[in-house]
């Protein structure tokens, strides 16, 4: 055993790049997987902690309609209905020195008995009596360089408010400490007046183990919701997003695994004579297999170590990108610290060892299987490689069939979507040898014509070493196709969004409240005064709100719109004119595509929404394209809304300007004359479109980063693989040099071979990339977010793919070519 270990070690020392490349392959793959895992976990943890801190550990909460809960109802519950463990909450967002806080308005006296937010000493009393008094954690104050007490200027919905920091929150445990990081605690009366919610509550927190009893007592319009249900639904909102990141990171690991497979195969091939000798000397095939596996696992362990360090380092960068995306798409979270869960490290370890074992088991099995005499012959290996072609190609077709079946049989599973994608990719890897041979057959005549004997030799050289070249080409093709697939997906998505924005944003100027939690709405006088301006032709108004029910939160959009304005909704099946009469007169809604997808609803289905007085059934008349949110929106006419909700608030309005009036200058005019208060955001059609696309681009930065990482791994992979192949052929080249091949000719031969492999990989990557894009767009995105996107063909990724793969291959050929032409043929022959 010791002797065998020494032999392995000596091989590694004589061929250090084998070891180094294996370690790089593993560590890069693992680092990406680990970084994504850590990032996802940290984001989830931040969400859970802040939920727990803000709900103060209550089991349920009572949610109201669009305007929250009428505060008088709280008194009724407490005094008349004798409910004890209930606490009123008024909350909203505040920004202080660029940091976003949740302003949590509580009634300290309702919480004392249950020990919620009770502060020892006089701080609690002062919270009630000192004007605009707040408390925050000592650590948060220190981070913002604030000494307690202090007067702070905070921005709330665009308006500056002076808050008085009178003391610090004293968390009872570390979980609270973490969860309260971005919380400012205040008295409920302060929260009501600052947030414009006088008379209303955001919710009523409830501790109960008998929710049914409370439900019976609730009047219509109010709903009792379990907190764990709410945290589940918030977590589910981002589930698809996290899953997508994980899948992309696994792709990096697959590419990394190819790298290991490639280098291990080469190192075994190189030692086949030694192995044959050992077998002849009596070493069993099992011992040989174990040795190879052990060698690989030692490399894997080193790669894992390096990859873990890299992964933790990557995750700090990724975390910012991921939380940006979550903030753009879903809700506000503040994730500043990464936590490295032991489970993530364990997962990474298992993945690294599994990937290594799987990638090395085939070459090790090959080495073990062959008889001692046959193993020594290189030609046998090549012969077998060609014999296996048929078998591999059949396997590939089987995998594709399995992928197709998986996609046909499953309807909504994202995991199944990704599984199918991976099957397709592996299938392509298996069929690469066949494609390689076919393409070589096509290319050799061309090369022959263009480059003469060198061209012919290059083509045949690639074919003669099929056992090595196929793997390198497959790895490169997969990496490049991932780049193509993701690029096509993003550009298709972007174009779909642009197209949708162009159609949807038909008004000239949009004015909206910066924060929807302001229940009071926009001042009507402002709307009136703007609508009578000579430049304005017509105005449509909207009310964004959300209704909570046991099944989650429904985003509602009540729109006072003209028939012309209604046409801006691009309906999937119906045409807007035909449903218009019903839309204005009946209990009819249109829902966004993602809403319909997530709730499994279609045109003609009935949707029940808890309205102010009773639950109302609305018929879905149409489904419209909307990329604004993946949670989905229910849109109804303002008249319909007014029939069921006693709420006249307007949160946004759009202006249609008269012919010839320029929107941007009109916006400037509104701003300059200070006609619009600063709580409102005024944007022209053009600016709104640009801002929306900026948000879109920011959202996809994370995807782009992962794509770049995949490219990086692919380039390192192809460099190493080709370098290994060409270095291994030193003896062959020495013979060629000895028989009279000039230095220039040898240079041309090596680079042509490399370039040829790169080009072929690029060509194979194109259809694979196309299929990947297709799966990502039509299957994964649909299943994750419920969006239908148009497939836009953009030649740019394909051209990039071909250029990238050829360039990477040529670069990889450079070093071996240089070494070959410098080498003394005699020496090379002697030592090989």
């Amino acid at each position: 055993m010791k002797l065998r270990a020494l032999m392995s070690l000596r091989f590694v020392r004589r061929h250090p790049w084998h070891g180094v490349l294996s370690i790089i392959g593993i560590s890069l793959g693992i680092s990406v997987v680990l970084a994504i895992d850590i990032t996802n976990e940290s984001a989830r943890r931040a969400l859970r902690l802040s939920n727990a801190a803000i709900t103060s550990g209550s089991t349920h909460y009572i949610a109201g309609g669009p305007r929250g809960v009428d505060e008088r109802f709280y008194t009724e519950l407490r005094v008349k209905r004798r409910m004890r463990n209930i606490r009123p909450v008024v909350s909203g967002h505040v920004s202080l020195k660029g940091r976003r806080f949740v302003l949590l308005g509580v009634d300290p006296f309702a919480g004392i008995a249950s020990g919620r937010f009770a502060q020892p000493g006089n701080d609690m009393f002062q919270l009630t009596t000192v004007h605009n008094a707040v408390l925050m954690l000592q650590s948060s104050a220190a981070e913002l360089a604030i000494d307690v007490p202090a007067t702070l200027t905070a921005e709330i919905s665009g308006l500056a408010h002076d808050l008085r920091l009178i003391g610090v929150l004293q968390p009872e445990n570390e979980i609270q400490q973490l969860g309260l990081r971005n919380v400012m605690l205040t008295d409920i009366s302060t929260a009501q007046s600052i947030l414009g919610m006088v008379g209303r509550l955001s919710r009523i927190d409830v501790d109960t183990d008998a929710p049914e009893k409370i439900k019976e007592q609730l009047p219509s319009g109010l709903t009792l919701i379990a907190n764990d249900l709410r945290s589940r639904t918030t977590e589910q909102m981002t589930r698809a997003f996290h899953l997508n990141l994980t899948a992309l990171s696994l792709l990096a690991l697959v590419i990394g695994a190819f790298l290991i497979y490639n280098t291990m195969t080469l190192s075994i091939l190189q030692r086949r004579e030694t192995f044959a000798l050992l077998r002849a000397l009596g070493m069993t095939s099992k011992e040989l297999f174990t040795d190879i596996l052990l060698e690989a696992l030692v490399l894997a362990a080193l790669g894992l170590l390096l990859g873990s360090l890299l992964g933790v380092w990557f995750s700090t960068t990724l975390l910012r990108l991921v939380s940006d995306t979550i903030n753009n798409l879903y809700f506000t979270i503040d994730v500043r610290s990464i936590s490295v869960p032991p489970q993530s490290l364990l997962n990474a370890g298992v993945l690294a060892l599994a990937a290594t074992t799987i990638s090395v088991s085939h070459p090790a099995w090959e080495a073990m299987r062959t008889s001692p005499a046959a193993n020594a012959l290189r030609s046998n290996v090549e012969l077998e490689a060609r014999l296996r072609l048929k078998y591999l190609s059949v396997c590939a077709v089987c995998l594709w069939c399995a992928a197709a079946a998986l996609l046909l049989w499953t309807d909504r599973s994202i995991v199944a979507g990704f599984a199918a994608l991976f099957l397709i990719i592996i299938g392509f890897a298996l069929i690469t040898p066949l494609l390689l041979l076919i393409l070589l057959r096509l290319f050799v005549p061309v090369l022959d014509r263009q480059l003469g004997v060198i061209g012919r030799m290059a083509g045949r050289g690639v074919r003669a070493c099929l056992s090595r070249t196929q793997i390198a080409v497959a790895a490169l093709a997969i990496a490049i196709s991932a780049v193509v697939g993701v690029s096509v997906m993003i550009s298709s998505f972007r174009q779909s969004v642009e197209h949708w924005l162009d159609n949807f944003l038909r008004a000239d100027v949009y004015i909206a409240q910066q924060q929807v939690h302001l229940q009071s709405g926009i001042d009507y006088r402002l709307i009136d005064s703007i609508s009578v301006m000579p430049e304005v032709e017509s105005v449509s108004t909207g009310r964004w709100t959300s209704v909570e029910s046991e099944s989650g939160v429904t985003q509602l959009f009540a729109l006072d719109v003209s028939r012309k304005g209604f046409r801006s909704f691009q309906l999937k099946s119906a045409d807007s004119d035909s449903i218009w009469p019903r839309f204005i007169a009946q209990d009819v809604v249109i829902v966004s595509e993602s809403y319909a997808y997530h709730h499994d609803l279609g045109v003609g289905d009935v949707l029940t929404i808890p309205a102010e007085r009773e639950k109302v059934k609305f018929e879905i008349a149409g489904i419209y394209y909307d990329y604004g949110t993946d949670r989905g929106v229910v849109t109804m006419h303002r008249d319909t809304y007014n029939r069921h909700w006693n709420d006249a608030a307007i949160t946004s309005f759009a202006l249609y300007l008269k012919q010839g009036i320029e929107a941007d200058s009109f916006v400037d005019q509104l701003n300059q004359n200070q006609l619009v208060e600063s709580t409102l955001r005024v944007r022209s059609n053009k600016t709104l479109r640009e801002k929306s696309l900026q948000v879109f681009d920011r959202t996809f930065i994370i995807t782009d980063v992962l794509r770049l990482l995949a490219i990086g791994i692919a380039i390192i992979g192809i460099l190493s693989a080709l370098m290994a192949i060409q270095l291994e052929r030193a003896k062959e080249f020495a013979v060629l040099r000895a028989v009279g091949l000039g230095r220039g000719q040898l240079w041309a031969l090596v680079t042509t071979e490399s370039g040829l492999m790169g080009l072929i990989a690029g060509i194979i990557a194109c259809p694979l990339g196309l299929i990947m894009a297709w799966v990502l767009i039509l299957i994964i995105n649909r299943r994750s977010f419920g969006w239908t996107m148009q497939f836009y063909f953009d030649p740019e990724p394909w051209i990039t793919a071909l250029l990238l793969s050829t360039a990477a291959a040529l670069l990889a050929g450079l070093y071996p070519a240089l070494r070959m032409i410098k080498a003394q043929p005699g020496l090379a022959l002697k030592y090989e």
């Binding site: 505060e71 407490r78 005094v79 004798r82 006296f109 309702a110 502060q119 009501q192 007046s193 006088v198």
Partner: protein
């Protein structure tokens, strides 16, 4: 968790800015003065009583509504939650037979109808705990109250009717708590309320009757910095007389304790007792298993002018309230002599500031 409140927070404040103080005797007017006096920092409505059911099973009960003003000025805000008035209610029941003491408390701000005190007609409530008067047109000096309190373990539903007129303590209701001017409260009592109704304990209902006592007291600062607590006694004797005594204990020197009392004769006439008029001696002690505080567990009281000697024994020793404030408030049995004639009675004792 540290208790968020202490007696000191409530009764001894650093700043009296803006609050009214009890400096001079005032003319009480009822029912107006049954109501709240928000310009003073502290106020309480306090009912204690001794009840028996038909099998002579003994119960003691206490219901207190505390009002505390967090600032002298009303809070200026458009929110209806804004207030400087905070209410706290304590309720307790002593079951002499099972030797158990039950208590509960609630807090609420004096806003949105969650808690408050109105005077005409008088009603005091904290959520669904209520003490409500039934006005009687023909009788200005009559007080008809109904107390309704419901907790997880027990509930009280009692009708309380005064059989004796209102008693003003101290100098026409101005009750000094130390020699310092302004360290005083306005303080009146109904010393004998005929009580009848229902006590429900652990889902068993008892029809009860007995005698209760109502205190109403408001002040801004009543404790001196060197006063650590007080012992308060209310005694209803079989000769239809009543006695209210308190001593405010000095932290170091018991000779500096501040004593005061009121003797009410059978007709309802009062006699003020100053420190030299009576003595109170504690006998025995009881250590609270919950807080470790050591309380006296019996007293002898001598009132020199009336040749009254009384022995007070708690119904049960453990009548400490496990609420945000910790204090002892319990029903007592009274035996004694007056001019060598034997006397019986019952009462309530309150002990604060024991550790």
């Amino acid at each position: 968790m540290q208790p968020p409140l202490s007696v000191n927070d409530f009764l001894r404040s650093k700043k009296d800015d803006g609050f009214q103080k009890a400096l001079h005797p005032i003319a009480f007017e009822f029912p107006r003065d049954h109501g709240a006096h928000p310009r003073f920092r502290n106020e309480w409505w306090y009912i204690t009583g001794n009840l028996r059911d038909k099998n002579n099973r003994r119960f003691g009960f206490q219901f207190t509504l505390f009002r505390n003003a967090l600032s002298a000025e009303p809070v200026n805000s458009e929110s209806r939650w804004a207030t400087s008035q905070v209410y706290l209610a304590h309720v307790a029941l002593t079951d002499a037979q099972r030797k158990r003491h039950y208590s509960d408390e609630r807090f609420a701000r004096g806003a949105l109808g969650l808690a408050g005190v109105d005077h005409t007609p008088f009603q005091a409530w904290l959520e669904d705990w209520r003490l409500v008067s039934e006005p009687i047109e023909s009788c200005a000096s009559c007080l008809r109250l109904r107390l309704e309190v419901d907790t997880d373990e027990f509930s009280l539903d009692l009708n309380l009717n005064n059989t004796k007129p209102v008693v003003l303590h101290g100098e026409a209701g101005l009750s000094q708590k130390s020699e310092t001017k302004g360290n005083a409260s306005y303080y009146y009592s109904y010393t004998r309320l005929q009580s009848a109704g229902r006590v429900t304990l652990n889902d068993v209902e008892y029809t009860v009757a007995g005698q209760s006592w109502l205190d109403h007291e408001w002040s801004t600062s009543s404790l001196q910095p060197d006063q650590v607590g007080w012992d308060w006694f209310s005694v209803q004797l079989s000769d239809q007389t009543e006695l209210m005594l308190f001593q405010l204990r000095h932290e170091l020197d018991s000779d500096q304790n501040f004593l005061y009392g009121t003797y009410v004769n059978a007709k309802g006439q009062t006699k003020q007792l100053n420190g030299s008029g009576f003595t109170v001696n504690a006998t025995g002690s009881w250590t609270s298993p919950a807080t470790g505080a050591i309380y006296p567990a019996g007293w002898t009281i001598s009132i020199h002018d009336y040749a009254v000697k009384l022995w007070l024994t708690p119904l049960i020793p453990g009548q400490e309230l496990s609420t945000s404030f910790t204090y002892w408030e319990g029903a007592v049995n009274v035996r004694g002599t007056k001019n060598n004639q034997s006397l019986q009675g019952q009462g309530y004792v309150e002990l604060t500031g024991y550790h």
